[in-house]
Amino acid sequence: MTRGFLAQNPSILWFIGLLGLFTLGVTVLSEAYGTAVLSTSFVKTLGKTLCLCLVAIAMDVVWGYCGILSLGHFAFFGIGGYAIGMWLMYARTEAIVTENLAAAVIPPTEAEVSDAIASQIFGVVGASEFPAIWAFAHSLPLQLAMVVLVPGLLALVFGWLAFRSRVTGVYLSILTQAMTLALSLYLFQNDSGLRGNNGLSGLQNIPGFEATPQSQISIAFFWASALALALGYVLFAWVVSGKMGSVIRAIRDDEARVRFLGYHVESYKLFVFTLTAVVSGIAGALYYPQAGIINPAEIAPIASIYLAVWVAIGGRGRLYGAVLGTVFVTLLSSWFTGGGAPDIDLGIYTIQWTDWWLVLLGLSFVAVTLFAPQGLGGLVDKLVRKS
């Protein structure tokens, strides 16, 4: 079956091949294992972009294939980041505290160590005790499980309530926006247990690898991100191929008709919504150690809207389109906002791209939606068909 599956989807092999070449290229040009042409911070940017591509293909499956315009998938991404961030912060602070207390004459009790860690982490929000949600933060395997379980359970409960009531279309989009807004507002509070607007920081320091230079850590995360993207791509390509893909696309095009064929549409939506949420969580867990910091602003409603914009510009309903859109828009965005684009002097007014980039992005989104619904992926399709 595997052979048949890959043979029927040559784009998967193409994608994996190109991703492999890209990974090799970056490694060869990196500071850690190559010619040092690429700075460590640029390797991190590339690694982060791969994670964004992963959440974008998840978005494409839920929206482009299944027709659920979720504007809340970045919340799952953020939750994944917070889940891994809790362990990173805990373990690192624990190491520091134990080192400091080692000098003491009387060996510290377990409670003393725990209190010291808590006051280090929560001092900024005026607390000194661990909130209940940190119960598993000491354990990497448990926190890794949270990366998957928390987004999965939230998506399952939210999706069950929404799909069961047959909330669809724009109402569902608004509901998902409300979900991510509520989560972000909650996290902004100091007593949320996740350090309010300070968020979790120092995530680039990996406990146990204090002696390893960031150049090597950055490459390791880059590889992990590339691997995750490759696996996610194959997983989703498999899900949207064959009969499952057929049913999912049918739900997108006419869900009422699918019901009369005997398929329980809500279960399918719930499956797709939850699976993509879990993958988004994993993408976030790989992203934030490369970013170094996560705070509630990351999951503001606008972040999930960007996700939809990338997918739309890349071309909905084709996985490589989501990747193209993400890479294209994020690179362009850093060029425009990073001062790469020259300001345009109109005499009476100067267009500064740092301010106007978002307007340009918004207009491109509208233009693509109206005039080129196939997006960038449509161009690829045309080229492939010609050759």
Partner: protein
């Protein structure tokens, strides 16, 4: 012939307008039944109620050997119980190929995980070929359904209905948009299906109904006006007044 579906005292209103009014109806298995009635008589709504699309305000619908009530069941559950439907306006999945449309309809487990792990079987492929041959779309299996002519879409939808292997088939105006030759083929197929299934056919065209040669139910303003052979109902003065006389 045993009763497969029994509907009694069913009413439904839309914003105060009674589209179905205290309707009672029975069909056996096997049986072929034609339903006729003027536009707006409630024929499509009648099918909507059986298939769970519209919830009736009152009444009872019992189905199957154990006489289960269809009222609380979801559309998908009703379909899995063996009630298949062909819509008045052909509704196929235009972006997908004829084969994919048929494969989706094929009688198989319907859960997400069953479908995710589903593997094509030789028997399934043969069944699709067989249905495609029957509906005259053997050459079109790989074509997107959206490219088909109106008549071919009608056939594809009939094929999807066959693929589901239902016990009760609800067929809403199957001959609309078909050529005379296609109509004849449709008639034959329906008569043939009526030998081992329960089939309800809604149709406008009197000639078509006459050729089905089966019991006819006349609906008007949401209730049964007359029932019997085609000659019986067309001779009924009430029927002549509300329907045929116009």
């Amino acid at each position: 012939m045993s009763t497969l579906l029994e509907m009694s005292g069913v009413s439904v209103s839309f914003d105060g307008f009674r589209a179905i009014n205290n309707l009672s109806f029975q069909i056996g298995e096997p049986e072929l039944r034609a339903i006729i009635g003027p536009n707006g008589a409630g024929k499509t709504t009648f099918m909507d109620i059986i298939t769970g699309k519209t919830k009736p305000d009152e009444g009872r619908i019992l189905y199957g050997d154990k006489g289960i009530s269809l009222l609380g069941l979801s559309e998908s559950r009703i379909a899995r119980e063996g009630i298949g439907r062909k819509f008045q306006k052909p509704t196929v999945f235009e972006a997908q190929s004829v084969r994919e449309n048929l494969a989706m309809a094929l009688k198989n487990p319907r859960g997400p995980f069953d479908v995710l792990l589903y593997r094509k079987t030789r028997a399934g492929a043969a069944r699709i070929e067989e249905i495609a041959a029957r509906i005259g779309l053997s050459e079109a299996l790989t074509r997107p359904a959206g490219e088909l002519s109106h008549g071919q879409k009608q056939w594809l939808e009939i094929g999807m209905l066959l693929a589901q292997e239902p016990r009760l088939l609800l067929v809403d105006e199957p001959a609309a948009g078909m050529t005379p030759a296609e109509r004849e083929k449709t008639t034959e197929m329906l008569v043939d299906l009526g030998r081992d299934h329960a089939v309800i056919v809604v149709e406008h065209d009197m000639e078509f109904v006459r050729r089905l040669n089966c019991k006819v139910t006349v609906l008007n303003e949401g209730s049964v006006l007359a029932e019997g052979s085609i000659d019986h109902v067309t001779g009924d003065p009430q029927v002549i007044e509300v329907y045929l006389g116009r």
